[in-house]
Symmetry: C2
Subunit: 458 residues, 2 copies
């Protein structure tokens, strides 16, 4: 046996596992402002559309085929599909689906995608136990709060190490949401969070593969099961999050406990949630926005573009620097491809990230003319875009905040259009309209039946 080495340890961390459990159990229903409530409804509706859209994608077909080898019971719905599976597998599969197009919501402070783990678990469990819409929204707000506060405490160190933070902290959000739905005691909820703490899922190395969207699905599943285990008396460390050998100190050098403890129950992270207008990683959005703006303002044609020069923060290239993506999935991690489609088509929805589009000759030609310059003086949320034309002109735009950001949110009409664009091809226009209306008013639904009927195939 080898000798062990000394590892730094903070023995004076506040009891955040217990504090969060008390918050989850005791915070009153709808105990927040109208603005927070509105963002929760938008978060749910945006997530639902994002989960319906990829329902027939090969990622879901492959994951569902594996789950079906277990001959699961028919407890909970798969969004956009006919099949039902057990509630834990439904949480997994809807969680995978909601992140498959990389089109879901983003908590910009941490690059967490909050709804995937939390809403997927809450909806699957809620369907099985007959929860009301109000209870789902409560569970969503509270689960996202736990999730994003943990994220705030460890970001950026945890993320920089290579963890996909949505999956590696998301199981705490889903455990919180499910504990709330199951009306667990504070002691049981503390155990649910603690059991979940042993199960971080997700490496950034998986970006560009099906395992990226697997991460929020696995987090949804793990949190739901942790809550069920806690309900039946399964035990874990009372300090699983904050102890010197607890999750946060194990997987991050940064552990800012105040991000968890300060104004807990008074400020709300879901109010900071944003929704993507483009079907790719958020760090590319300012660059695409710039390309779309230049295309519209100057009526640019592909043939007259000599060179595109973008200046961006180094993180943009670290995350999305694929020069020559070969598949639709890979192209979501290519700022070069994204700028090309923004200039060519004026948009970057799911259709612009297909295997077909990524290999179109005009896309390949323009992609090769996109040049990226790293400039860390430019914020990650911004981009500087210049297009040089073949006749020697150059046009320029600096995008401080992209469309879809907190500062420039999508309008209600834009959010609905995004929902319908994704879901109508799967469930039909009439059901898509109905699913939008019911999900935007979820808190008023006495149960989830009408919503799930609209959001699945019959």
């Amino acid at each position: 046996m080898a000798l062990n080495t000394t590892v730094k340890a903070d023995h004076d961390a506040p009891p955040i596992t217990a504090m969060l459990a008390n918050f989850v159990v005791n915070h009153p229903s709808r105990g927040w402002s109208d603005q927070v409530e509105e963002q929760a409804q938008r978060t749910f509706a945006n997530w639902l559309g994002c989960a319906i859209g990829p329902a027939t994608h090969e990622t879901i077909e492959a994951a569902l085929a594996a789950v079906q080898e277990l001959a699961p019971s028919a407890q909970a719905s798969l969004l956009g599909r006919k099949e039902k599976v057990d509630m834990a597998s439904a949480a997994l599969l809807n969680g995978i689906s909601s992140h498959t197009f990389d089109f879901d919501d983003t908590h910009l402070k941490t690059i967490i995608h909050p709804a995937g783990p939390v809403a997927s678990a809450a909806l699957a469990l809620g369907e099985h136990i007959g929860a009301s819409g109000r209870e789902i929204i409560d569970a969503l707000v509270i689960g996202v709060e736990v999730f994003c506060r943990i994220g705030n405490a460890v970001y950026p160190d945890h993320y920089d190490r290579g963890w996909h933070i949505t999956g590696s902290t998301g199981m705490l959000g889903s455990a919180a949401a499910c504990a709330r739905l199951l009306k667990l005691s504070a002691a049981q909820t503390q155990m649910a969070l603690a059991i979940a703490a042993s199960q971080p899922t997700g490496l950034r190395e998986q970006f560009g593969t099906m395992t990226k969207p697997f991460h929020p699905g696995a987090a949804a599943r793990a949190g739901l099961m942790a809550a069920l285990m806690a309900r039946h008396g399964f035990t874990a460390s009372h300090r699983a999050l904050e102890a010197p050998r607890g999750l946060l100190q194990v997987f991050s050098d940064k552990t800012d406990w105040s991000e968890v403890t300060e104004r807990l129950g008074q400020s709300w992270e879901i109010a900071l949630n944003t929704y993507k207008p483009f079907a790719c990683g958020i760090v590319i959005h300012p660059s695409i926005d710039g390309c779309v703006q230049l295309r519209e303002q100057h009526a640019l044609q592909a043939g007259e573009i000599d060179k595109v020069v973008i200046k961006v923060h180094s993180l943009v290239l670290e995350l999305t620097g694929k020069k020559t993506p070969r598949t639709g999935l890979e192209s979501k991690f290519s700022v070069f491809h994204s700028c090309a489609v923004g200039l060519l088509f004026g948009k970057a929805g799911e259709h612009e990230y297909t295997d077909h589009t990524v290999n179109l000759p005009e896309v390949l030609a323009l992609r090769a003319r996109v040049e990226a310059i790293v400039d860390d003086a430019i914020d990650e949320a911004s981009a500087d875009v210049t297009v040089h034309t073949t006749d020697g002109r150059s046009v320029h735009v600096f995008v401080e905040h992209a469309i879809g950001s907190l500062e420039r949110p999508m309008s209600e009409a834009q959010l609905k259009a995004k929902f319908v664009d994704q879901s109508a091809p799967i469930i039909g226009a009439a059901q898509a309209e109905q699913a939008w209306l019911l999900s935007r008013a979820l808190a008023a639904q006495k149960d989830l039946k009408a919503l799930l009927e609209a959001a699945t195939r019959n």
Copy 2:
């Protein structure tokens, strides 16, 4: 958004994900020495007894109750019980059971418990697909090889950080075993390992709670599902283990690739496996052995013991330094309790780690007289034990290697006695005898039916 920081990265790692996949797929059946084969059989039989013993423990009752909320199909057996559940849940529950008494096997170089994740997944899958005993042993040897080589590559840094290495690397062993059983291609097996790589489970902070044995169960489940997903075309990074953002570099500063690549397919980690004579953490065994030896050699009575002084490596107290354990489970992490029962009863089986025993007045009285001195000149595998008597004598023993170690292995009779002691109370003496015989000769069984009939309740 915050700025990212620079993280060290090794860009020149050998392609171990692909290398291990090729090994898993292409190494011939029974392609190892008789001695390796013998250890594989002993590993399986020891694991089986350890999984049957706790079948009715509250840990299993709680986990099974949670699984039953999913209304699982009846695909695979739960050892020592009547119920069947889906194969993934069977892998989970048998994996939990096999580690519940902390009585399972140990790969001393890494403190990994190899069989829990690997055998639990292989047996559950093997039962469902009708595998032969030969195929199970092949899958076990190959799965343990992948698991322990990864462990060797990252131990001790990974463990020192606070990860429970059995759960945090075990999903690679179970994925390998299941890929082998499913006869996946090398490309599919590479994906199975890569999907599993996103799912490390387990914090050392959970030691002393039910979540510790949850870790190998979760690893078994994750590897089995990863193999099923890969079979159906789910994708992940081709370099999920070795890339700069891959699992090993993310969760360990030490990444010794040669531990994976050198003599792969020629040397066998399962040959280094050991079996516990005492139902607690391996680092306490030398101390218990010393106490038992002194008791027997000097006919020590509790009443004449004034003080017990043990000198041990610091890791012993770090892992098992609980001074005042309150429950049977906690007492497994107390070298003080363990020495007391060794001196009082001459053994430290599961009965010596119950809630009842931990609160016996004579145990409490003697436990308070055990004093531990840290001496890092003493190896982790050794202990120096001195008992001072009330009449002023002192007796002393230095245990270089405890019984059950590689240097002093348990005899066949001892291993069988351990199996029967655990399993007879659960399945009856006749079935225990039968289960022992069939598991010790597993490779000769054409299928698993007779074994599973013996190893479950009817």
